[in-house]
Structure formats: structure tokens, C-alpha cells
């Protein structure tokens, strides 16, 4: 299956979105269509046999102008709008000036010659507005009609063209009822609203922000010289110099001794981290210490930041359930508005024909459902952008709604509640022929192949293996450990070594899950006792979760005694030594009792448990399989972003609700007032413009939700 992202710049509303969706269903090989009206993008999942060109053609024949996304058409659109807006503004000043004179003249009397002169002056300035500034409304309305639907530009285009033609007729036939001022004002205010909305949208442009964290050039070390090269040209194996204060251009391993990095762009964690030689450093992060060299391990496209950008992109284009409901409301809305406007005109003919036209125009302009159709997507997009900044990536936008119901959080203990780097507390040598250093060296040699969190304890534990050492036929056994053949000198006799759990290594007696056993040819030769400490920030996060009414539960493979120890420190429930089946059963039991469960896991064995939870979350270090099955990705091992997720979700709900109530209230009050002829045209245009801008502005409030801090008062 392939995915292609298409920008449709003239998709302004829900009705357009619906039309594109319908048009695409006629095409063979389309698996799913996700439409994001805020970013004006369509994400199509299609079979290999389907040509993206076909998709573009289909959208085009529905009356839109699609372009493959990736090109930055945002700037171009913005500049185009600004030009149209500026011209409309300049013209409006002149037309208003003439309008004041004409209004005064209609009260106090005016010589017909001057009235003509002022009318023609207004006409002269209105022509560029109608023929240039207002063109986007006309083309968009026309293409929607051609496509067999109605979008929200149809009422606007109708209002502008009716007002202009009536005025033109009056000017040419010597009448005195001209509405040039209304024409230019409608155009100016509506264009202004569109310009502001466009600018606000840019702040929601998450992927753009992420990728702009990448520098465009890097210093490659070629024959001892630092040569600037484009980042896109960097290949794995390249030596790259990262000067002080610069951003790391691509993922790689550190060559220098240590480096001080600000990884906030990736993890949302504001504390700087120190990296040691050969540790992985990530593209986009900031060098806060002295300059250092690194060896690229990936290209820019494969770097973690690009992965995250892509995941985020997919989620963002996906649509939540509420959005579809609003789509339907807006889809019914426009035909009703047109009918209502016509009805207004007819009724006013009997009451006061001179006011009929103005009342109809006001209804057309005031009733645009843009606010209604933007209410939900704007809030959702803003929420996802903010969450990303806080270190949470939603891979599924519907998850944000499900998060609201969660009242129980299962946390797999390893790494999230306790420090991710266990330390070797004690080494017990069980074979009289070995010493402690030898055992550590052997263990280090084997653990290098393991991705289990415990393996990191051994990273710098043993001396580097001797020059002739060979480690062969290494195999990692999930849930067990690592086994391999080690010989002291190349070609010499080798023995099978195992390191891992008690049962894997063949140890008898009381098994302890926090100990790692080393065995040679089936005989246990050493035991390493590891310690895990409660992470300093876990305490604050647990308290914050409880304050939100969410009960955290610790899941662990550890013995009940050890769990009780950690759980008592944190003051939470725990489930010790659970198989995945038992964890799943526990979650199901909770769900039966009416609880909604979020599961935070990181191991492959957690996949079924994650699938059973209402919301699944994984940390970024988790394997790809786990990440692909998770709704939520935490970009650091801290728990704080998880509490941020709940807070942002709740804030999003209230902002969406405010937006919907405001939009509905605006339309329900403005339309009757306009139909009754009680609303001046300038207020209609201003109200319409303000209604959608207010919705966007309200959504931007989500961008400033403060992160959960380990505030001292939180313990109380």
C-alpha cells in the first residue's frame, strides 16, 4: 500500500471535502481517504496499481486544483492573498470616500452631474476589486458548482456579483441606488479573514516546524578539512563536524569524548543531556557544549526526526469522528442558506421592495458556515502540534477523543517509573576459577547484542575484551537472554556462554528478576544484582495523574516484593510478575467494571496488551512493531508528557465545544437578524470574518498549554 499527500488549495470547507471524498470513492484501488480541511490536504492510501496522477485527475475533475504536497505552496498562496487584500484595501478607501459624499447627497440633495461623477469614480475603483481581488471567491464558487456541489464561496460570490451588477445597472441608466461600498467592503473583510486564517494555519504546520529544525548544510570532514555540504548529500559513514551551538544535521554516533545536547526538539525534555563516545546522537538536536565530530549512521530522510514528522503527518491528516459530523452539518447548511436568502428577497418585496436587495445580500454574507466547519479541525490540529512540542506524538487523531474517557493507566515499569539505566549493584562470582573482572568482561561482550534495558547496565562495566577474543553465533532469546560462543584466542577452543534470566542461564534455587546470571557451558559462574531507582520525575507525574482523576497501575515482571517496594514509594497499585495474557485479562476485567484503560508499554510482548487497551502508548525507544500499534508515542522516558496528553485532551474538548457553540450561536442569531433587515452590511461582513477568525484564534490557545512541571506544590 502507498500513501500520497495532495494539497488542494481551493478546498475551503466541509462541503468541498465531502465532494473530494465522494469523487475518490469512484476510483479503483483507493483504500482510504483522509481529509484535513485546515491544512487543505488529502491523504490517500492506495494500492500499488493506482497511479497518483489518476488521483490528481479525479480531484481535478471534481472541480478542484490539486497539487502533490511537499512543494511549499503555502507562501505563494499567502503572498497572492496579500496582494489581493492590499488592492481591495486601497480601493475601499476611495470608494468609501465617494460613498460618504453620495450618502450626504441623498439626504441634502446633490447636483446630478456630481452624483454621476462620484458614481463613476466608485465604479472605477470597484472594477479592480471585483475583477482581481474577489477572483478567488468566483473561481472557487464556479468550480464547486461545476463539480455538482455548493461550497461556502457560492453565497459570497453571489452577494458580490449581485451587488455589483445592480450598482452597475444604476450607474449606467442614471439611477441612484449604488452599492459599490458594500462590494469592496465584503471583499476586503472576507479576504482579510482568509489571510489571517492562513497565517494562523502556518502556526499549526507541525511538519514544517519539525523539519525546519534541521540545518540545510553540514560540515563534512574531508581529508582533515571541514567542507560545507548540503545535508541531503550526507551518507552513512560520513565524518561530520558539529560546531558549538549548531544543530546536528543527521543521526549518527558521537566520535568525541562527550557532548552536551539539547534534545527538546525530539523529546520535549528541556534538560540538556550528556552523551558519551559512540552513543547515538539525533538530527535536529542542538549542540550546547563544545564542537564535536560524529559519524553519520543514517541519511537525513531516515533520521528519527523524519520518522516522527511522517508519523505526525499521518495522524494530522486523519480525521476524527466529530469532524465528520460537522462536515455533514455544513454540507446541508449552504443550500439552506441560498434558499433562505431567496426567501428573504421575496418576502421583502411585499414589505418594502427598496430594502429587499440589501437584506438578501446580508443574509448571503453573514451565514457562511466556515466557523462551524473549522471548529473541530482547528482545535485538533493545534492540540496535536502542542503535544508534539511537549514530547507526545499522536499517530491516530481519534485517540485524542478516547483519551478523554481514560481513568486508569497501566504503566510497564521498566524504564518509565524507574531509571532507564539500571546499575550493577553487586557481582557475585560463583566459580572459584574466575575473578570479578573476567566475569564482567564476558558479560559485557555478550550483553552488547541485547536490547533489553538491563543490558545497558553492562555497557561500561567490563574492560574491553582482549585482542584475540571472538564472539560467534550470537543469538538473543526474547524473555531469556543472550547466548554465544566465546573463545579467548582466534581459532582456539570456545565455550558456549549464556547471560540472562535464571531459567535461561540454568541457575537453580530462588529466581530473582532483578538479577542477571552468566553461565559457561551450562554452569552458572556469576550473578549480577541490578538496581532500579524510581525516576526523580516519576513521583510528580504520578501525583499529577492522580489529580486528574486517573489511577496509575504499575505492571512489572519483577517479584511482588520488589514491586511493592517501588509501588509504596510512588503510592500506586501494582501487578507483579504478569504474563502478557494475565495483563490483558487484568485490563479486560477493568474494562468490564467500566474503566477505560491507557496502556503504556515498550516490549514486543506487550503488543497484545496494547491492542486490548482503549488507548495504547509506547515510548520512542520501543521496537517498530510496538510503535506501529500504538496510538500515542512518548518521545522521552519521562512520564510528564503522559499527563500533558490528558491535560491537552481535556483542553481540546472544551475549546472544540466553545468553538461549536460559538459558531452555532453566531449563525442562529445572525441569520434571522439579517433576514429581518436589521443588520447593516458592514456588520454582516465583519461578523462573518470575525466568526471564523475567532474559532482559529481560540484554537491557538491550545498552543500555549503549559507543560506539567514537577512543581513543589504538587505533592499536596
Amino acid at each position: 500500500m502507498s500513501v500520497c499527500t495532495i494539497s488542494v488549495s481551493d478546498m475551503h470547507c466541509a462541503a468541498c471535502a465531502g465532494k473530494i471524498r465522494r469523487a475518490l470513492t469512484t476510483l479503483d484501488g483507493i483504500e482510504a481517504t483522509h481529509i484535513n480541511p485546515v491544512r487543505r490536504q488529502v491523504l490517500v492510501e492506495h494500492g500499488r496499481a493506482t497511479d497518483p496522477l489518476q488521483i490528481l485527475n479525479t480531484i481535478e475533475s471534481a472541480g478542484f486544483t490539486p497539487t502533490l504536497a511537499g512543494l511549499d505552496d503555502h507562501d505563494e498562496r499567502q503572498r497572492d492573498l496579500l496582494k489581493r487584500l492590499g488592492i481591495a484595501g486601497l480601493a475601499m478607501m476611495q470608494v468609501m470616500m465617494a460613498a460618504i459624499a453620495l450618502y450626504a447627497g441623498s439626504f441634502d440633495g446633490i447636483e446630478p452631474a456630481y452624483e454621476r461623477l462620484l458614481q463613476f469614480t466608485s465604479l472605477l475603483f470597484t472594477i479592480p476589486v471585483v475583477c482581481y481581488s474577489a477572483v478567488p471567491f468566483f473561481t472557487s464558487a464556479l468550480s464547486s458548482i461545476r463539480g455538482g456541489g455548493l461550497n461556502m464561496d457560492v453565497p459570497i460570490a453571489l452577494a458580490i456579483s449581485i451587488a455589483f451588477s445592480v450598482s452597475l445597472h444604476a450607474t449606467l441608466t442614471g439611477g441612484s441606488d449604488v452599492f459599490y461600498d458594500s462590494v469592496v467592503m465584503f471583499t476586503f473583510l472576507l479576504l482579510g479573514a482568509r489571510y489571517i486564517d492562513n497565517r494562523l494555519q502556518r502556526r499549526f504546520d507541525l511538519t514544517g516546524q519539525l523539519l525546519s529544525a534541521l540545518p540545510s548544510t553540514a560540515l563534512r570532514i574531508e581529508a582533515g578539512e571541514r567542507q560545507p555540504v548540503p545535508v541531503a548529500e550526507l551518507a552513512p559513514g560520513d565524518q561530520i563536524w558539529v560546531p558549538e551551538g549548531a544543530q546536528i544535521p543527521v543521526d549518527g554516533t558521537l566520535d568525541g569524548n562527550t557532548a552536551l545536547l539539547d534534545e527538546a526538539v525530539l523529546t520535549g525534555e528541556s534538560d540538556w543531556v550528556e552523551k558519551q563516545t559512540a552513543e547515538t546522537v539525533y538530527a535536529g538536536t542542538l549542540n550546547r557544549g563544545a564542537g564535536f565530530g560524529l559519524t553519520a549512521t543514517r541519511t537525513v530522510d531516515e533520521s528519527r526526526i523524519a520518522d516522527i514528522a511522517q508519523l505526525a503527518e499521518q495522524a494530522e491528516v486523519g480525521q476524527a469522528r466529530i469532524t465528520r459530523i460537522t462536515d455533514r452539518i455544513a454540507g446541508i447548511f449552504i443550500p439552506s442558506v441560498l434558499a433562505l436568502a431567496a426567501l428573504t428577497f421575496v418576502i421583502w418585496q411585499f414589505v418594502d421592495p427598496s430594502r429587499a436587495l440589501m437584506a438578501m445580500l446580508t443574509v448571503l454574507v453573514v451565514s457562511c458556515p466556515c466557523a462551524l466547519s473549522l471548529a473541530t479541525p482547528a482545535a485538533l490540529t493545534a492540540a496535536m502540534t502542542r503535544l508534539r512540542q511537549l514530547g507526545v506524538v499522536l499517530t491516530n487523531s481519534e485517540a485524542l477523543e478516547r483519551v478523554l474517557d481514560v481513568n486508569r493507566v497501566y504503566i510497564d515499569k521498566t524504564g518509565t517509573l524507574t531509571t532507564s539505566r539500571p546499575a550493577i549493584l553487586h557481582t557475585e562470582v560463583l566459580d572459584s576459577g574466575m575473578n570479578q573482572a573476567e566475569c564482567l568482561t564476558l558479560a559485557t561482550a555478550l550483553q552488547r547484542y541485547s536490547s533489553h534495558p538491563y543490558a545497558t547496565a553492562f555497557e561500561h562495566a567490563g574492560a574491553d575484551s582482549g585482542p584475540g577474543w571472538t564472539v560467534e553465533d550470537v543469538e538473543t532469546v526474547t524473555g531469556g537472554g543472550v547466548r554465544g560462543w566465546i573463545s579467548a584466542d582466534a581459532g582456539g577452543p570456545s565455550a558456549e556462554f549464556r547471560i540472562g534470566s535464571a531459567s535461561f542461564a540454568g541457575a537453580s534455587g530462588e529466581a530473582d528478576d532483578r538479577s542477571v546470571y552468566l553461565a559457561r557451558a551450562g554452569w552458572v559462574i556469576a550473578r549480577f544484582d541490578l538496581s532500579n531507582q524510581v525516576r526523580p520525575d516519576a513521583m510528580a507525574s504520578v501525583t499529577a495523574l492522580k489529580n486528574l482523576g486517573i489511577a496509575p497501575v504499575m505492571l512489572s515482571g519483577d517479584s511482588p516484593e520488589r514491586c511493592a517496594e517501588t509501588a509504596a514509594v510512588l503510592g500506586i497499585d501494582f501487578l507483579a510478575r504478569q504474563t502478557p495474557e494475565a495483563k490483558l485479562a487484568a485490563i479486560h476485567a477493568d474494562q468490564q467494571r467500566g474503566a477505560r484503560v491507557l496502556m503504556l508499554g515498550d516490549g514486543i510482548n506487550d503488543v497484545p496488551v496494547l491492542a486490548g487497551a482503549d488507548v495504547s502508548a509506547a515510548v520512542v525507544e520501543a521496537s517498530d512493531l510496538v510503535k506501529s500499534r500504538s496510538d500515542v508515542l512518548l518521545l522521552s522516558r519521562r512520564l510528564a508528557p503522559l499527563t500533558d496528553l490528558f491535560r491537552v485532551a481535556r483542553q481540546t474538548r472544551s475549546i472544540t465545544l466553545q468553538n461549536l457553540i460559538w459558531a452555532a450561536a453566531y449563525n442562529l442569531t445572525a441569520i434571522p437578524v439579517a433576514a429581518l433587515g436589521l443588520m447593516p452590511p458592514w456588520l454582516a461582513a465583519l461578523g462573518m470574518a470575525a466568526s471564523s477568525t475567532l474559532v482559529m484564534l481560540n484554537a491557538t490557545r491550545l498552543l500555549s498549554v503549559a507543560p506539567t512541571e514537577a512543581a513543589p506544590g504538587m505533592e499536596a
Binding site: 496579500l82 492590499g86 486601497l90 456630481y114 475603483f125
Partner: protein, 50 residues
């Protein structure tokens, strides 16, 4: 009031000039990143100019 016959064409010409200047400015990126120059002082001199 006869002066209007002169003043209105004058205003038409002036507005024409204003519009031309405005369009020139937009086309030459004068409105791009209005807050960018405030941050310029934090940028290190790249050294490639001079």
C-alpha cells in the same frame, strides 16, 4: 466644487502609484518574515560576505 473634476483624477493617479509600490513590495518579499530582522543580532556573522 469644480475642483473635484481635477482632484478626483489626481487621486486616481496617486492611488495607482500606491498600488504599484505595494505590489512591488509584496513581489520583492518586503512582507516576508517581518520579525526576522529582530533576531539577526543573534546570528553569527557567516563570514562569506565582505
Amino acid at each position: 466644487m469644480e475642483i473635484l473634476v481635477v482632484l478626483i483624477p489626481v487621486s486616481v493617479v496617486l492611488i495607482g502609484i500606491a498600488a504599484a509600490i505595494f505590489l512591488w513590495a509584496v513581489n520583492n518579499d518586503q512582507f516576508e518574515q517581518l520579525d526576522k530582522h529582530g533576531f539577526d543580532i543573534f546570528e553569527e556573522d557567516s563570514g562569506d560576505e565582505k
